[in-house]
Symmetry: C3
Subunit: 302 residues, 3 copies
């Protein structure tokens, strides 16, 4: 397509695998440090960060906005319009155009797996991947690991990921991140929702009982109702077997915590009364999201 | 629903009745003080205010943005997307999530009456109600009272509210606010648009002549054309009887002023040529809206 | 309509013809000066600029946002909603309302030719026209002239504008701007896309060969595919005769550059592999857009 090739190397965060174990631990510690000390140093002062969410996401985008502004940076929010797409401009043309406006970094989200990896061949400024298709969501993994480390003081944990795993970029990034720290990862869900094999994962099972036995963390994923309805399984049967609620959580040890990347579906993958219970770290994840993203921005942009 | 209960008490502004007569007067005087001295003290520096308008409103939201930024604060603008609602998250979940991002206050607007009162049971940071259904719109009442006080130097005025009163949160908040100051409130409109009785209101009438006799303020409300069309009344008859124009304004004394919460319908509840006439305080209301909201933010957040 | 008349005169930028030759050169030199020295003086600190794009445009709006924030100003972004228009408020009412919020300038875009000229009769703060219908787009002309001056060191150039000229506000502003500097302007496109006569233009032709002979600048315009399909011309014939690609660019001298206002249609008016080639100044135009708009804001608002 006659695209420019980037000349200067920059630090990007496209995949959790772009980071070594030590780099991840640096980000976690920096995030927790920023969380503790209240007023933050404006290290992004005079920096312009473009959030370009080609696939809409309010939650992740606002978390980034909060993080960028909290560090004194300026947000340029690119919102793809129907009209712009009709105008025939491709995503990479949009990014090259925005880059030409003298901006300092991109945070992107896109439906197509691998698109950010392609883009970084042509874009000079750093790209932070805010989620690409079913592939990667590295800042979610970092905030999850920050939350686990904050709670347990270590990351060589037993973690059961429950739900629609094969469609989940969150599951990918989290699994790959935690494996660097010697965690034991289990995947649990109906046959149609779990992979047959996953590099480094110790257990892939359809039994929640088996999955939660002795775990430290129950990590529930969003499950789209429409996808449940397509399962051979009856929907009530799905709830009985895979919903995390006050009954099923007893399959895990008393010290085990509940996590979820949000937004959750009340009374689908998690029950109403458990999401804000004492066992749940869901809102802590959201809070740590801001500080983990600050730590990433500091590393990548500042 | 297993929601967290708030532990720390905060100052909220959900209803005009949350404020005493003295507190309202403090806000009015502070608003007028801020309006006079041009450059404002950045008392919201480092504060993050979320505007969460579940029911869209450009005008009120931008007025808040102007006020927040004018005081040096940062805006996080939550725009509910169709997709987010489809994702099954409830409004209170959204607010709890946004609150977890370490923000300092919410400005909300919502279609459902009473929703902000429910939310404040679970939200720790202050909530400013930017309008809930047909119930309350306290900052509108404050800016209206600021405008009346600025113009007349007192609030024990004769005020005729004209139009679709039963569907109007503005009428509720304004009436209840002014009654604290001994104002005489009259309500006027077709039978279908006025209540049969309203606590403290001295006159409820279908006659504009009666309503405007001797008043200080004519407060015209927005009237949706579709609602007029459903009246037994012919639409031209509605205009003849209830539209404020250069002819009907003569029913009021020469010193009486025209006010309107905006956005107005030209040539429906008000005529084209009266909205920016010398008799109209409509643009003054808009200007005072910024400073009244600054005064509220100062009280609630700073 | 009973609109207020403005009392205080302000500097606006509605048409490129609002500026003399000297004023244009001042803006160009100021833009290039701002581009060179990296960190910009916050001359818009405490100023509120409303971007009111009644016709959507991501690219121009974000360029203005970047420019405003780069100079330390605050953006209030008015996004017209379907609901607001349904509410019956006219555009000028919207602007009068926003102006009442104590803001310092407007940047507008609108579908209707001449609307900004009408508005400035009633609006006190400066208006910068970000494009009205097929009429004017003065900041685009300024960034284009900045780019030409930066590249050639002069503006008495031979410029061929190619494409759908009669629907193009860009062609109008650029032609009228360049003519002040003694440039030689040629217009080229199918009969349906070019005017029969254009004041000051030396050549209007359907032959690309004739148009590009000896030029310094090839200025390609966006062409909507739907419009090509309505031409008597076969679409492949259109591409063969008017698309700028590595073959047709040879009709121009080796020193000639390619420009385009963006967003471009890959493989319609320009070929895939030429837009980011060494011959193309397209991304330079985007970059200069930020600094030209800074120079305009400095002149009009600061």
């Amino acid at each position: 397509m006659g695209l420019p090739k980037r000349e200067v190397l920059s630090v990007d965060l496209i995949s959790i695998n772009d980071l070594s174990r030590d780099e991840i631990m640096d980000i976690i510690k920096d995030a927790l440090y920023m969380k503790r000390k209240k007023d933050s140093v404006p290290i992004l002062k005079g920096k312009f960060i473009v959030t370009a969410f080609f696939e809409p996401s309010t939650r992740t985008k606002l978390s980034f906005h909060r993080a960028i502004k909290g560090l004194g940076g300026e947000v340029i929010d690119f919102i793809p319009s129907v009209s712009a797409i009709q105008k025939g401009e491709t995503d990479i043309d949009t990014l090259l155009t925005l880059q030409a406006m003298d901006i300092d970094a991109f945070v992107v989200r896109v439906r197509r797996n691998g698109a950010p990896s392609e883009w970084k061949e042509h874009i000079k400024v750093p790209i932070i991947n805010g989620g690409d298709g079913t592939n990667q969501h590295p800042t979610q993994a970092l905030l999850d690991m920050t939350t686990m480390y904050e709670h347990f003081g270590r990351l060589d944990l037993k973690v059961a990921i429950v739900g629609d795993i094969i469609h989940s970029r969150v599951a990918n990034s989290l699994t790959q991140g935690l494996l660097k720290f010697g965690a034991e990862i289990r995947m649990c869900g109906p046959e149609e929702f779990v992979p047959r094999h996953y590099e480094g994962v110790s257990l892939i099972t359809q039994s929640l009982e088996e999955a939660l036995d002795g775990v430290d963390v129950i990590y529930a994923l969003r499950v789209q109702k429409e996808r449940i309805e397509k399962l051979p399984l009856n929907i009530d049967e799905f709830f009985r077997r895979y919903q995390i609620n006050h009954k099923t959580i007893k399959l895990a040890p008393p010290h085990a915590v509940l996590m979820h990347p949000g937004p959750f579906n009340r009374n689908i993958e998690v029950s109403d009364n458990i999401v804000y219970s004492e066992r749940s770290l869901i809102l802590t994840q959201v809070k740590n999201g801001v500080y983990s993203r600050m730590a990433v921005l500091k590393r990548v942009v500042a």
